[in-house]
Amino acid sequence: MEEQKNPLIENVNSPYLPLPQPDEIPEREREDAMGAYLMMFAALASSLPLPIINLIAAVIYYYVNRRKSRFIHFHSLQSLLSQLPTTFMNWGLLYWFIMIWTKEAWTYNDYFKGYVIAVILANVLYIIFSLLAAVRARKGRMYYFLFFGKLSYDMVFSKSNTLVYKGEREAPAENKPPF
């Protein structure tokens, strides 16, 4: 596949749309994109023992904001997706802990301790990278998490993405190039 040299010029062969550059992204969009990450923290803190509210909040935020622009869509999608495994791991920990608490057959063995360490690490990484991403989003920049970044980019900036964004042309272009 041909490398795209200048990101401002659309490469018609690329399956992806050109990325918006910082000077093209209005202040309002940057703030909404940043909010996708910061809002999770508030929700995460408010629902600590029962990690379900943060997920609901993330889904609502995603659906409310995704049509505003591709830039916002990308960041809120990345925030939502990266939150899923952390939340599931927290659920697993909570479930395991309750089982130990209520059933004698479950114990604080090395499998549990190793899992606790993995969950703590996942949460810490999630928080650190979300903060970094929030700062980048505020500056109108892209920031790609491992896996979730690429997945979100693929879903949002792919030409096969049919979602209609506010301000983007809805009707198919009438004027087409000759070849």
Binding site: E104, A105, Y108, D110, K113, G114, A118, L146, F147
Partner: protein
Amino acid sequence: MNRVSIWIDLVKLLGGFAAIWVGYVLLWPMVPDEFKPDWTLDEDLVTISIEDEEGLGDFILEAFEIEQSEDLPAAVDSGLWVIENRLLSQLDATDYEYNFYIVDNPAVNAMTFPGGNIVVFTGLLELSDTPEQVAAVLAHEIGHAEHRHVVDKLITELGITFVMAVITGGDANLIHELTQTVISSVFSRNQEQEADQFSMELLERSQIDPRALAAFFRKMNRENLDYADELEWVMSHPHNNSRIKASLEYEVGEGFESKPIDLDWDAVKAAL
């Protein structure tokens, strides 16, 4: 190619976390103990003094009308004395003054009451093939006492306020409730494992082969007896086999030499 790299990233991410988890489980046991932080919770935050525990033990013995029987056959009495002496002489520092009681009952049972009071049923003595097996059970019961499992169990089941009320008030209804709890509730799996471990260590120090514990478990399994609740764990516990295995695999220190308990066990059993 682009999309493939997304899934490669996923594999990296999952692999990273799996490596942390599996790595911990596999590598952590190899780390020397002195480098490990203390994970154990301080379970002694809520507890009662040894004196109070002895008071509780007296209440319970009284409620069951258990006392040092004088009409026990001399062979049985002295036989148990030989076994318990062998163990107690190797018990380094203990807060308890142990008292062993024999109860004439065919149930295969032994119980630890608060304050270092250990009760052995004649049914258990009859079932045991060797005095070493009895020693293994007694060492297990001593383990429960030394780890203060009985008091922990009472406080967990009834609450510290209730237990303190019994100690200070000695009301008959409260004592009844307490004695029922002592005999009806079982120890947790962790507590049983701790007592097993204690038993095997004490047996080793007493020059008794720690596999005597496994021998007793297997004997009970084979006999398929109708167990009293207190010994239910021997039969019904899902990890019973792993406990037998743990006892069989227990590694004695170098230079360990087992010394048989000098008792004519058949004569003791015949006297029962």
